[in-house]
């Protein structure tokens, strides 16, 4: 044993304070073989970046090529469900390697560039205004329920051309898909249900957009089918990916960032006193710091495509790997005072969106929503006051997700 740390990454400590848990691993055994789940756990910034940039060694085709049982274990009788689940996730474009990944990504890439995303900023601002006006009438809100969740859901529903009235239904199904990052032994059933209900919901929409393209990204995906890059099944499953990834991550960015501001009143004051005298602007730097300090996504999985030595350890072909953004973003070898929330930090080469060829496709949209959300909060309120002392997180190895964040506003 190189480290005394408990290998249960779903345990209370690892879920409540991943910075302590993965920080200790980074100090004691940065390329760690987790004996409980039989996989490599990477926590150092340099290693994570190196791995993301060596996509030919670390394969993203995890669900396609990994026939082993999932970890933690699931009910034996649910292995048939897992087979369907695995095939579904394997059809996501992010679950492919080059050259197929590049072809699939390029169909969508142009839609999500910084330049094309700017057109959505006025809409994002207007949704934020409506949500906060509503919250002001109450004088209090649960940031998670009333702000961080409805904002990105509204935005992604707009981009997909789905009616906003469907948002609660969409969220309910999305929550079933989030079981993918959890450890519950019975998680395959809700996951399987969520997948097939979403397929049923979106298939007719895809069908309609293939016949009559509109100005939304389901139509962009449908165009990928016309070009022979996506199959119909892949159009539907990737629409689900964008729907899910397009809001779950941003929810956590807004919630975790708001909490960081409440826990660091000096940084809240600094944002409120923004003189507009730095480039890039303070609100952009602040959003990057939120993405570094308490990132929405904790970890990413890969499978070794060949034997490779890393940090003096031999990772063998087909070994499972999970790297932790949570560890890398707090690495003192990369960041000065890594545990300090400093919204003026720049440059800030965090890996909140990953890095390399799989760098998050929706990063610009998440940034835009984060910037406008934090700016609106700072412009509108003298202070946000935490109305809880307990922070309960979803038991996910993938997402850093609060269950609730009640506040009052001044």
């Amino acid at each position: 044993m190189v480290t005394a740390i408990n290998d249960d990454m779903f345990s209370g400590l690892a879920i409540e304070d991943p910075y302590a848990y993965y920080g200790q691993l980074r100090e004691e055994d940065p390329v760690h073989w987790n004996e409980k789940y039989n996989l490599w756990v990477l926590t150092r910034y340099e290693d994570v970046v190196w791995c993301t940039r060596h996509n030919e060694i670390f394969s993203s085709a995890v669900f396609k090529n990994d026939y082993r049982a999932p970890y933690p274990e699931v009910e034996e009788s649910d292995m048939g469900l897992y087979d369907d689940v695995r095939k579904f996730f394997a059809s996501w474009f992010i679950q492919h390697d080059r050259p197929v990944h590049m072809d699939m990504r390029r169909v969508l890439h142009g839609y999500f560039t910084p330049k094309s995303m700017e057109q959505w900023r006025p809409m994002v601002k207007s949704v934020i205004k409506d949500l906060l006006d509503e919250a002001d009438e109450q004088g209090e809100m649960d940031i998670m329920r009333d702000f961080a969740t409805p904002l990105p859901l509204f935005v992604i529903a707009q981009m997909m051309g789905m009616p906003y009235e469907d948002r609660k239904f969409i969220r309910m199904l999305a929550e079933k898909l989030l079981f993918i990052g959890r450890g519950d032994i019975g998680r395959m059933q809700p996951l399987h249900d969520g997948i097939y209900e979403l397929i049923d919901y979106l298939s007719p929409v895809v069908e309609a957009r293939i016949k009559n393209p509109e100005d939304d990204f389901i139509s962009v995906l449908a165009d990928g089918e016309r070009k022979g890059i996506y199959t119909r099944e892949q159009v539907v499953s990737n629409a689900i990916l964008l729907l899910l990834a397009g809001h779950e991550t941003t929810i956590n960015l807004i919630c975790n960032g708001s909490l960081a501001f409440m826990q660091h009143p000096d940084q809240w004051a600094a944002l409120k006193n923004d003189q507009g005298d730095v480039v890039p602007p303070l609100i952009n730097r602040a959003t990057e710091e939120c993405l570094r300090y308490d990132p929405p996504v904790k970890s990413i999985q890969r499978i070794a495509g060949e034997d490779v030595e890393l940090g003096g350890k031999l990772i063998r072909k087909n070994d499972r790997i999970r790297w932790f953004i949570t560890g890398a973003n707090r690495d003192p070898e990369k960041f000065e005072d890594p545990d300090t929330f400093n919204i003026n930090r720049w440059p800030n080469a965090h890996v909140g969106f990953g890095s390399g060829i799989h760098h998050c496709l929706g990063a610009t949209l998440a940034r835009l929503e984060g910037q406008e959300a934090f700016k609106a909060l700072a412009d509108r309120y003298e202070s946000l006051n935490l109305e809880t002392k307990e922070f309960d997180y979803q038991p996910s190895i993938t997402f850093r997700s609060l269950k609730a964040l009640p506040v009052t506003m001044n």
Partner: protein, 74 residues
Amino acid sequence: MAGKLQVTIDLNVCVGNAMCPHIAGKSFDLNDDRQGRVIDPDGDTRENVLEAAEACPVSAIMVVDAESGEQLFP
């Protein structure tokens, strides 16, 4: 005929998404850290270089008209 270009990549920002060598391979490749590198600003067509800059997910590429000094992207 359009004039020469001056192309720079901010390595503090570049995440190695590798779209630039894919789109304009005669102007860009990757360095040892697998971040973007300018090999010849005029190696590829102006159209491709600008498309590569626009496709960069973190806007790390700046393109300037070397003769007029006009910033073409971002």
